[in-house]
């Protein structure tokens, strides 16, 4: 069968080719379709029965002449040849060279679909990665093996942010750094060039493998591209012991391709025309990030997606957020105010932060400072909202402090230079500078010891000083350990 070409296509619809009367075709097999001009297209069997075989053609079925279309079943699933030579190369979605150089030859080939990682083989990610970006390091820390997407919108600087992360990401006190797997789907030529030049100028190009499907390349190829790219990532991480940073952009283009095929197949839609299995399908991709016991390498994944109409409840960001370990959300409002990176803090989250920060990893106060900044900023946004209704002059004295805090937070903490690489200590010190704009009694998430050590509240009105003078002295001589861990030991 491998050598045989069939000419039994009965129908073609979108990316789907229907074949009749070919027995025993295995599901998932790779197919080569030759059209009347002798050009080859790649396909995959997505449904198979006694009677009908359904082939998904990555290059689409446009201008196929059914009478003069030949199909060859390769009797093997989609595989990717793997070798260390992949570094520095550029491929398309099915792993063919896109840089004019010869294909990778290797005896080692793997099915691009991978197989699910056994949960008991995973090891919990907990090593802090410093990206040099305060909103990430300070408030939504990334750890090695995490999948942390950037939720963006069209026209927002997600590519610049992703490139900055690639440039700056490092482990504290470690020299060896990341190799990058860059998977791009439906990106413009300009964006692709931007990344290439950025990798080149920062000298990492030799440590990057690129899988690129441009905006004018066949859209269906996007369905297989992230799988191909992650197969390479798994090889680099778990065979070659490298720490891989996988940047996958733009997942929205991926999901749109999936919807297109689902619709053509007549699958029951769940929300906004996307099939019910979008969640599981995305999970197959995202869950390939991680760490594995007894393996030295890791896959840290930073997927980028643009939220259609900036709507975070749209199925693509929504289902992504349900799978990934947090999200960094960009805001158009901050962007329009000129803030870079326009990370909007309240909806951003890193779920794996808790085990990668603190005393032994970053600094002892880090978890509490992060929590406090979140709480204070949430409160400050309420004050700002109130000010927009009743006017800033009408605000209470406390609320005016919050207003000033919100502004400073956005201008100094959130905003930073595209080349600015802040150390985690710089980020935390900056956080305390900002928290010092607020009176200590509003800072319930930090300990009294933290306040003593880092907080610098001097703006004390005479009246308040008077009031405090009495009460705080009274309580000062009572024993109440402010450090919860110390208290734990007492018990």
């Amino acid at each position: 069968m491998k050598e045989k070409e069939y000419r039994m296509a009965t129908a073609a619809r979108g990316a789907l080719l229907f074949m009749q009367g070919i027995p025993g075709v295995p599901l998932g097999d790779r197919v080569v379709v030759r059209d009347h001009r002798g050009r080859k297209r790649n396909g995959q069997v997505i449904l198979t029965s006694d009677e009908t075989v359904l082939v998904q053609v990555f290059e689409g079925t446009d201008d196929l002449d059914l009478e003069r279309t030949w199909v060859r079943f390769l009797e093997e699933p989609f595989t990717l040849p793997l070798s260390p030579d992949m570094l520095g190369r550029v491929f398309n979605g099915v792993g063919q060279p896109k840089d004019g150089r010869p294909p990778i030859i290797s005896a080692l080939k793997r099915n691009v679909n991978g197989a699910p990682v056994n949960p008991s083989a995973r090891s919990y990610p907990r090593e802090f990665i410093q990206t040099g970006i305060s909103t990430i390091d300070g408030l939504n820390s990334l750890v090695r093996g995490q999948k942390l997407p950037i939720f963006s919108g069209s026209g927002l600087p997600h590519n610049r942010l992703a490139a900055q992360i690639v440039r700056q990401a490092k482990l504290l006190g470690e020299a060896a750094n990341f190799v990058v797997v860059f998977a791009a789907m439906g990106v413009s030529h300009t964006d692709a060039r931007f990344f290439e030049e950025d990798f080149e100028s920062s000298g990492v190009l030799g440590n990057v493998v690129m899988f690129i499907n441009l905006a004018d390349d066949p859209p269906m190829e996007r369905l297989i591209l992230p799988r191909t790219a992650l197969t390479a990532a798994e090889y680099l991480a778990f065979d070659l012991d490298r720490h891989v940073l996988a940047v996958v952009t733009d997942m929205t283009h991926y999901a749109e391709a999936l919807r297109e095929v689902a619709t053509a197949k007549g699958d029951v839609p769940a929300r906004k025309g996307y099939p019910g299995y979008l969640y599981s399908d995305l999970a197959e991709i995202y869950e390939r990030a991680g760490r594995i016991h007894d393996r030295h390498g890791s896959i840290t994944m930073v997927p980028v997606l643009s939220m259609p109409s900036d709507d975070i409840t749209h199925p693509i960001p929504d289902l992504t957020g349900y799978i990934t370990e947090g999200q960094i959300v960009l805001s158009r409002e901050l962007h329009n105010q000129g803030a870079y990176p326009p990370v909007t803090v309240p909806p951003s989250l890193s779920r794996l932060m808790k085990d990668g920060i603190g005393k032994d990893d970053t600094r002892e106060d880090h978890p509490r400072v992060a929590s406090q900044l979140y709480a204070s900023y949430a409160r400050a946004l309420e004050a700002r909202n109130l000010a927009s209704i009743i006017g800033a002059e009408e605000l209470s004295e406390r609320d005016r402090l919050y207003l000033a805090f919100a502004d400073a937070f956005e201008k100094r903490f959130v905003t930073q230079g595209e080349q600015e690489d802040r150390s985690i200590v710089e980020t935390l010190d900056l956080a305390w500078e900002l928290l010092s704009l607020l009176p200590p009694e509003t800072l319930g998430r930090v300990t009294e010891a933290d306040l003593k050590k880092y907080h610098n509240w001097e703006v004390v009105s005479a009246e308040r000083a008077n009031w405090y003078g009495r009460t705080s002295e009274d309580s000062a001589d009572e024993e109440h350990p402010a450090d919860p861990q110390a208290a734990g030991r007492v018990s």
């Binding site: 769940a270 869950e287 009294e448 009460t471 309580s475 734990g488």
Partner: protein
């Protein structure tokens, strides 16, 4: 023997004579297993638990003669199983980091030896019914595993093994049933997962399930044998709530079912539980815990099965007379698996693609919770707690709205609270518990008679503050009287000092019922005292800025559950502080008068 006709994702159509609905079928060269979900003439549709890639039409299909069943016996605790009860640690030894297909491994280790202690009261010749305890095995340091006569069997005891070491495969008793058949009993038996295990009678759940989480236990309590749901948008804290319950609940056995969620969350349980001690038994938490894991990237059909595998194991420990808690994260993913299969079968979708039987399947699942009198006459319970993941955080979607109608406790997580890092982000407006009255009796008896009243007072304060906050947002704070502004401050104090509870804080992660009550009582005391001195025209800001309040906000993480006397000392400080202000302001008033 039959053969494969069609393969459509996880649904395989086979030509196979005489199979039953629900029967297990093995297909193809790889020997993948699935179950029949519909029959049509001599064709059957089989949902397969593993990826069907590379399967082709014409390959063989073989009926296995039984429905999906689980093995029930010693050796379950501390394990991690996949959605059809395959032991993941053993699979790893066999197939490496990734799960290979077509592996057949028994759930229970066949090599492990258990020390069996026969039930001394059972003489040869006595009649033993289904569910009778014929002996025990020390399964872990804390849990005695009671070996039961399988529920469907009964008869005259012919042979009873003496105390000694046995593997699960060895015979430990023989019984002759009413028609003269002799059955061998082993340390384990099998039970079909889609059939609830029988019990003698249901009784009324009367004891709260204590989770150590204030917003749950004090505000929206659950009972042992009750049902609860944790709905919320992504990142709101459903998993943490369930992990906290799995950690701290005063249950004998905990089942953690990771159904279509992240692999790392299960690893976290696997890595952290052995190191944590159960506050009730003082032993490692892993000794009472077992995991069923079908992560989001594992095959979707096995995900559908995982919930039933979990609840059947839960019922089995219930039948031994234990209080069992099962948390399922997330029931939405289970419902989606159902939807996917229904879609592939071409069944008519009714709402958002879900089949018409979604509601009945959900309610049949939650019906398996309950506090019962077991066949052996003991008390046991299964509490079921399901996370719900509504698309876009919209609670009106089908899974959330049906679940809401079925469960008695509803812990609604809100995005606003989560965004402000108010954890647990359980909202007090949309959450409810149908068990408050029963719980109140327990609290009154075991902790404090004033519990119900304090709880009601706190909820009223929160509601009033929410109302006032709306007014402020319309017309500004100036419109509020000092008393109203103090309501806002009081509610703020309540939120920070009582409701917020960080799972990451070593001291506050767990709060005993007494600690919960004291914190609530202290916060309300401050509120009342403050309200009182407002009469003396003390400015609200002055009260709000008292160091006493800052101390109250932090005290939960200063003193642990076994330092309640220390907590109570704040009472004294409250009195002193407010008395001092009273004296001072009474003086001021006199001077100005």
């Amino acid at each position: 023997m039959g053969n494969i006709v069609q393969i459509n994702g996880p649904i395989v159509t086979v030509r196979l004579q005489g199979v039953h609905n629900g029967e297990q079928v093995r297909v193809g060269r790889l020997g993948l297993v699935g179950e029949v979900i519909s029959l049509d003439g001599n064709q059957a549709q089989v949902q397969v638990y593993e990826s069907t890639e590379s399967l082709s039409p014409g390959e063989s299909a073989q009926a296995l003669g039984h429905p999906l069943s689980v093995e029930l016996g010693p050796g379950l605790l501390g394990q991690i199983f996949d959605g059809v009860q395959r032991p993941l640690k053993a699979i790893r030894l066999q197939s490496g980091d990734q799960i290979a297909r077509g592996l057949e491994l028994p759930a229970l280790d066949r090599e492990q030896v258990w020390q069996f202690e026969p039930a001394s009261a059972l003489d040869i010749g006595t009649h033993v019914g289904g569910g009778t305890i014929i002996g025990t095995v020390q399964e872990t340091e804390t849990v005695v595993h009671r070996i039961l006569v399988p529920p469907a069997q009964s008869g005259e005891l012919l042979e009873h093994a003496p105390a000694g070491d046995y593997t699960v495969d060895q015979v430990i008793a023989r019984i002759r049933n009413s028609i003269g058949h002799v059955h061998k009993l082993k340390l384990f038996h099998r039970w079909p997962v889609r059939r609830p295990r029988p019990y003698r009678a249901r009784d009324h759940a009367a004891v709260p399930l204590m989770t150590g989480q204030r917003i749950l236990d004090t505000f929206f309590p659950l009972l042992k044998g009750g049902t609860g749901a944790v709905p919320g948008p992504f990142g709101a804290g459903k998993t943490i709530v369930q992990q906290q319950i799995a950690r701290w609940a005063n249950a004998d056995i905990v089942l953690y079912v990771g159904c279509g969620e992240r692999g790392n969350e299960l690893v976290e349980v696997l890595e952290s539980f052995p190191k944590l001690t159960d506050p009730h038994s003082g032993r490692s938490l892993m000794e009472r815990t077992l995991l069923v894991a079908n992560t989001s990237n594992m095959p979707v059909v096995a995900r559908e099965a995982s919930i039933y595998v979990g609840v059947t194991i839960a019922e089995y420990y219930r039948d031994q007379g234990y209080d069992v808690v099962m948390v399922a994260d997330s029931t939405s993913r289970w419902a989606e698996a159902l939807r996917e299969v229904a879609g592939r079968l071409g069944q008519m979708p009714v709402e958002e693609g879900y089949p018409a039987y979604l509601a009945s399947r959900l309610s049949a699942f939650y019906e398996r919770a309950g506090s019962v009198q077991t066949l052996a006459g003991n008390r046991g319970s299964v509490s079921l707690i399901g996370a719900v993941s509504p698309p876009g955080g919209d609670f009106s979607e089908p899974v959330t709205s049906h679940t809401k109608e079925m469960v008695r406790t509803f812990w609604a997580l809100t995005k606003e609270l989560a965004d402000a890092r108010h954890y647990p982000a359980v909202g007090w407006n949309d959450s409810f518990s149908g068990y408050v009255e029963t719980a109140a009796k327990w609290w009154a008896e075991h902790v404090d008679p004033a519990w119900a009243q304090r709880r009601a007072e706190a909820l009223a304060l929160l509601a009033e503050a929410d109302e006032l906050a709306r007014i402020v947002n319309l017309v500004g704070p100036e419109a509020l009287s000092p008393a109203q502004r103090w309501v806002l401050e009081g509610a703020g104090l309540l939120k920070e000092a009582v409701l917020q509870q960080s799972a990451l804080d070593k001291v506050d992660s767990y709060a005993s019922p007494r600690k919960q009550f004291i914190l609530l009582d202290l916060a309300l005391k401050i509120y009342h005292e403050g309200k009182d001195i407002l009469e003396l025209e003390v400015p609200v800001d002055h009260i709000a800025q008292l160091p006493l309040l800052a101390k109250m906000r932090r005290i939960k993480s200063v003193y642990s559950s076994d330092q309640t006397e220390e907590l109570r000392k704040l009472d004294q400080e409250i009195h002193e502080t407010f008395d001092r202000i009273r004296i001072e302001y009474a003086g001021v008033k006199e001077q100005t008068a």
